[in-house]
């Protein structure tokens, strides 16, 4: 198992990757997932996070097997 991470739209372009995998022994906050995967890139302030398809705050805990996504403000419709 692992935490499956996805990036979308301009954030994907900026990160340079569409997906990441993170092995985590214990649950950790969303913000920590970002920091461990991209320590050189501060999370842009307007970044949104979704855990298993639901919006979450950066302090929400991510567990093994979860799907976490980072993306910029949405612009559909």
């Amino acid at each position: 198992m692992a935490i499956h991470v996805k990036y979308f739209a301009s954030l994907r372009d900026r990160i340079g990757r569409a997906e990441d995998r993170l092995e985590a022994a214990a649950p950790l906050p969303v913000a920590d997932v970002w920091a461990r995967l991209s320590p050189e890139v501060p999370m842009p302030p307007n970044t949104l996070a979704a855990l298993n398809f639901e919006y979450v705050e950066p302090r929400a805990l991510v567990r093994d097997g979860d799907e976490l996504a980072f993306f910029p403000p949405v612009t559909g419709g």
């Binding site: 301009s10 996504a69 949405v74 559909g76």
Partner: protein
Amino acid sequence: MRIEIRPEPFDPLAELRNHQARLAQRHRGRYGACASFIGTMRDHNEGDAVRAMHLEHYPGMTERQLEKIIHEAEHGWPLLDALVIHRVGPLAPHDPIVLVAVWSAHRAAAFDACRFIMEALKSRAPFWKRETLLAGERWVEKSSAG
């Protein structure tokens, strides 16, 4: 209630007609109001000419969020049915982007719910637009206020 994400061009009025024909089989004479909104790609945005657009989304989350939005609308107003169709993929100016339609016995519920769904979609459904300008491309940075 029907939600569809379409990778190919679609015809909003044909969709409305087909959906309503099915609805009429169950609810003929019960609905007095259908409010709908069709969003179409424009050839200009923020003062620039736009030649083409690509609509990206987050498969799985998009459907989940749209379902939640429609359920919220169904709790907020007495609706008989709702239909949401949204394009993804490459678009040209004049292509339909989104159709939201709501049926109810009375007009206030239909108007209110249609607008609620559309505004919630704009703020919560994970779609992103990338525009092709005369020179280069850009991500649309924020959803328009209207």
